[in-house]
Structures are given as structure tokens and as C-alpha cells.
């Protein structure tokens, strides 16, 4: 009798435990793609293609005098933000937070960092170079501090403001704001194909921690794409 009961209990336990064993493995987490998407009909009448937003074309010069375009970042992830060297407001906090993320991925060539100055009239290449060195960034190819106005382009400021909007960062001149510019401290995570895959408020420690957690998720996705491409 007692044995029967024990067997019954064991059976029950087994049926309870079984579903957990046969449950499908969880799908690999995937980061969303930010921005508007287009649906483009296909010429051959097949199912329409969805075209995801990408970062618009840009041309920058970094603190080492190197030109940077979208192509410079192709095949890699990058984290972008907007700052200016004389900013007494949120920039030191923002760049200090990005520095933490940078240190975590300093040796990982799959990700680079890109800070755009929103004050190209002041932040010349020597100013950007000094800023980078003072922040402790010796290798310009790991963290670019870049300008749209290396050659005194009169439209440099408009160009960078437009670029900021594309990265979901609000930036504009503001006489009331400390340093003369109002902007928010958004970090944008961009994938190997130019899609923005995450936006993080640099002033919120939880958000910065989320970036640190989500960056490896994106890197794994990029790795799998590269692995898949190699097999084909």
C-alpha cells in the first residue's frame, strides 16, 4: 500500500517535471530596430520587403585627422553620442558613463565608440585630440571624437544637429543652457548594417547597465551573421 502510494507520487512528479524538459529552448534574444520602416513592393510581385531605417550618410573627421563615413563602421557595432568639449552641463557625466562602457569593451574590436561634437566652431581637431587624451583615450581608432566641421564648413553645426536627430538625440543652441547648447545625453547603439538597435539615457545608471548588457547580445547577432555568411 505504502509502495503504491510512493509510486503514484513518483509518477505525478514525473508528469509535472516532464513538460519542463520538453519545453522548447528559448529563442535567442534580439534587440529591436529603431525608427520608421518602409514597406517596398517587389518588382516580381513577391511579398513586399520591409526596409528598416538606417543612420543617414555622414562624413566626419576624427581627433587623429582621419575621415570617417558610414563605411568606416560597416561590419561592426558602434556606440554614438553627442557632446562638446567645453560643456559644463551633462557632458562630463555622460562621457564618464561612456568611459565605463568603453573600458568593458576596450579590447573588443567588434565594437567602437563615436562621440560627435555639437560645437564644431570651437571643437577643432586639436581640441578634440586634447579632449580625448584628457579622457584617457590614446587610440583614436577605438573611440573617435569627430567633427562635421574640420575645414570650417559653414553648415557644420546644422549638419551635426541633423545627424543628432537621426540618432534620436535632441541638440540645439540655447542661450539659457550651460555652455550655450541644450542637448540630452542619449547613447545610440548601432549595428553592423547601420540600424540603430538601442537608445539609452546616459544620466540613468539603470539605462547604462542595460547598454552594457545588450551590447553583447548585438555582438552575438553580428557574429552569427558573419558565421552564416562564411558558410554560404
Amino acid at each position: 500500500m505504502l509502495l503504491n502510494r510512493l509510486l503514484l507520487l513518483a509518477g505525478l512528479a514525473a508528469t509535472l517535471a516532464a513538460p519542463a524538459c520538453t519545453e522548447k529552448p528559448k529563442e535567442v534574444a534580439r534587440l529591436p530596430i529603431m525608427g520608421e520602416r518602409d514597406v517596398v513592393p517587389r518588382a516580381d510581385g513577391g511579398p513586399a520587403d520591409t526596409v528598416f531605417a538606417t543612420v543617414p550618410r555622414f562624413r566626419l573627421i576624427d581627433q587623429a585627422g582621419q575621415p570617417l563615413t558610414n563605411q568606416s563602421f560597416a561590419g561592426r557595432a558602434y556606440v554614438a553620442d553627442f557632446f562638446f568639449a567645453t560643456c559644463p552641463g551633462i557632458c562630463p557625466k555622460m562621457q564618464g558613463e561612456l568611459l565605463k562602457v568603453y573600458h568593458q569593451f576596450e579590447k573588443d574590436p567588434r565594437v567602437v565608440f563615436l562621440s560627435h561634437t555639437i560645437d564644431p566652431a570651437h571643437d577643432s581637431i586639436p581640441v578634440l585630440k586634447d579632449y580625448a587624451q584628457r579622457l584617457g583615450i590614446a587610440d583614436a581608432s577605438r573611440w573617435h571624437f569627430a567633427t562635421t566641421g574640420a575645414h570650417g564648413e559653414p553648415t557644420a553645426r546644422d549638419t551635426v544637429f541633423q545627424l543628432a536627430r537621426a540618432y534620436f538625440t535632441a541638440a540645439q543652441p540655447d542661450k539659457e543652457a550651460p555652455g550655450g547648447f541644450a542637448h540630452n545625453g542619449t547613447f545610440a547603439l548601432v549595428d553592423d548594417q547601420g540600424h540603430i538597435r538601442g537608445l539609452y539615457d546616459s544620466l540613468n545608471p539603470t539605462e547604462v547597465a542595460r547598454l552594457q548588457k545588450e551590447l553583447p547580445v548585438l555582438l552575438a547577432e553580428i557574429d552569427s551573421r558573419k558565421g552564416g555568411a562564411a558558410k554560404q
Binding site: 567645453t86 559644463p88 552641463g89 551633462i90 562630463p92 557625466k93 562621457q95 564618464g96 568611459l99 579632449y131 587624451q133 584628457r134 579622457l135 584617457g136 550651460p178 544620466l203
Partner: protein, 132 residues
Amino acid sequence: MSIQFRFLLGISLSITLTGCFSNNRHQGEKLYAQKCASCHGEQGQGLGRLIPPIAGSDYLTDHRAELPCLLRNGQNEVIVVNGVGYHNVMPGNKSLSPAQVTNLLNYIESHWGNEAAPRTISDVQAQLDKCH
């Protein structure tokens, strides 16, 4: 009765006393978080060679008498802290009252390894009167 009365008196006294002090007790810490921490860091650590540290800063002891004016007016000259030159601009805080400057400095000067003697409002007031 008399014991009970004393007891009550004691309680009400301690309540009023904490009431007196609690308002401004953490004013220095709050002001630091609002006005200083985003540049100088939550622990006064500064940022690379861009923003000088406040923690363990020789500038605090070497320029003690000038600090009230520095907080009020800011500064835009090269400043040497612990042997490192910094050239970023520090904005001023014209709206800080002498009491606020005192509380802020007393907080800064008693944290993160800093150990200066506490300031009084009248000392700070006298130093502020001499600001340019």
C-alpha cells in the same frame, strides 16, 4: 507625575531639536548632488584630466580661503590640482547664499579623505564679501 512630565519634556525636546537641525542637515550633500556631482563625480573623483578631483585634492587645502569665491564666481583659468593642469571652465553659482556655500564646503571638506576644520557662516560671509 513628575517623572512622566520629565519624560514627555525629554521627548518633545528631542523632537523639536531634530526639527531644528534636520532641515539643513544634509544641505551640503544635496547641493553637491545638484550642482557639482555631474562634473566632479559622485565621489568627488573628477574625470580623467578633464575635470579635477575634489577627493584628496591639494587645491582645497592650499586655496582654502579662496574657495567661497570660486564656488560663487566659477573660474576659467588653468587650475593645477595634485600636480595636473586642467583648463575646463567651471560655471559660477551666483545664487548660493553664504549659508549654502558654508554647508557645501563643509560637506566637501569632510568627505572622500578630505579632513578640513569646519567653517562658520560668518567666516564664509567675510570671505564672500571680498570676492571680485
